[in-house]
Amino acid sequence: MADYLINNVGLFGSYPWLAYLLAGLVHAALLLQLVAVGALFFIWLERKVAGRIQDRLGPTRVGGKFGWLQTLADGIKLIAKEDLTPGGADRLLFKIAPYVSFCASFTALISLPFAFGWVAQSLNIGVFFVIAVLGLEIFGVILAGYASASKWSLFGAMREAAQVVSYEVPLGMCVVVPVLICGTMDLTTIAEMQRGWFTNWLIFHDPFTFITFWVYFTCALASVNRAPFDLAEAESELVAGFHTEYSGLRWSFFFMAEYGSMLLVSVLAAILFFGGWNGPIPITDWVGWSYESGTDPVTFTGYLSNLLGMLNVLGKGVFGVTFMIWVRWTLPRLRIDQVMKTCLKYCTPIAAVMFLGAVIWKYNFPGGLFFRSQVPLANVQETWQGGGGRLIENSGQNSQQSVTITARSDASQSNNQTQVVVANDSRRQEEALP
């Protein structure tokens, strides 16, 4: 966006740094709005869904028949509450804790693409970054638990920290499976490879990926502390866990962080397993609106198709969150030892076996069961400038040579081999690594 501003809007030609500032602010504002409005919507959705599951109606009074504005009313109440800090609490840590949680949840949204090219910061290591930052949310919880100077808070925080840290391991292993199928950690590329009919979605690539999705979902539920893994907030046991002593706006920050994380893991699942912004039916491809992969001229129809794609991704994310809410109000809560047992005895071995299975499947059956992308996206090419930084003593030549790493997994090849093609100016060396 900044480049567009610099090139097209005259004012920014002379102040390019202003263009970057504006682009950054716009992206941050959009993402903040997504988290805030998302939290508003999800709290209302949770109350409605919970009500229906429990054979009652949920909020119906504020804002018409369906209680649309109930969360807004709750928000106003929370802001107006008295802001108290417990007596023995460490004031600095107590005040900072909700913001740490919220920051971690928000930072991970930076690298999530919502449509082709619509990503706040396109990172080559997108998946890795999201998983890394998800693990930072736990600091807010631990600080809140400790700084509240209450034993309920401390126990809740410790349990939750143990749970989140343990479940990071199978979560990481599950996330690696789509990465190895696509050959890249860039989320935009992973979603682009699933273009076309819904049979191109990675979840239908092979049975191992299918099971991996369910393990991922379980680990994601544990990571965001939703039931049945919500013993950190277990009302029946710990008063309210780590946020017992929080009231008003600080408490609402914790909840924005929690709903933000739920949306984050759902959208990540949508991108990794369900095709991201590529719908079940490739309408925008038929009409010719969508961008060809690898180019992005800014056109109106392209913008429209991206808008549809974004709504698609958000729709899948909302469906994921609804599924989490459904699971919460249906299944009973697990004890801490059951939580750890599920992680260590079930999730981790299953994730490891699925990883192995996906590797073997990819090696023996190059295409997936149905995976036929019509764009030649099975080539993931990276060109790396070799030797650009080395001190070459007695040669005056330009040491620009490119190394092309091509991972080919076409179904048309009889034997699937990954070739590392090392090319330079005068001679060609090919090393084939099976």
């Binding site: 650009g388 930084g389 080395r390 001190l391």
Partner: protein, 115 residues
């Protein structure tokens, strides 16, 4: 200070940051009575070294002379991170054992082998 905002940064600036982290770690290791404070000093020292490695490895910082150590620096930094994590785990296990056996975490009390 103002020209720092307008000019690109070079390797020296990263080295200064690395130096400050390293020296903070050394002073932390030397002065803290809490065993966990000493551990934190060790982490700071390793991070200071990592910042130096990354600064030397980055072709983005090298200016026109261009001798970065390239990928070597980044891989070394990677190994340092992994080994620091391993060492922190073992050091923490030892510290917790000490706490359980002596009911104190003060390193000044660890003087049973004193002659």
């Amino acid at each position: 200070m103002m020209n720092l905002l307008t000019e690109p940064v070079g390797v020296s600036h990263y080295l200064v940051v690395g130096a400050i982290l390293f020296v903070s770690g050394v002073v932390c290791m030397a002065t803290k009575r809490n065993a966990l404070g000493v551990l934190m000093g060790i982490e700071l020292v390793l991070n200071g070294a990592n910042v130096n490695f990354i600064a030397f490895s980055s072709p983005a910082l090298q200016g026109n002379s261009g001798f970065s150590i390239g990928l070597d620096g980044q891989v070394i930094a990677l190994f340092v991170i992994v080994l620091a994590a391993a060492e922190a785990a073992v050091a923490l296990a030892i510290t917790l054992n000490f706490y359980n056996n002596h009911a104190t975490i003060d390193v000044d009390q660890a003087d049973e082998l004193k002659g």
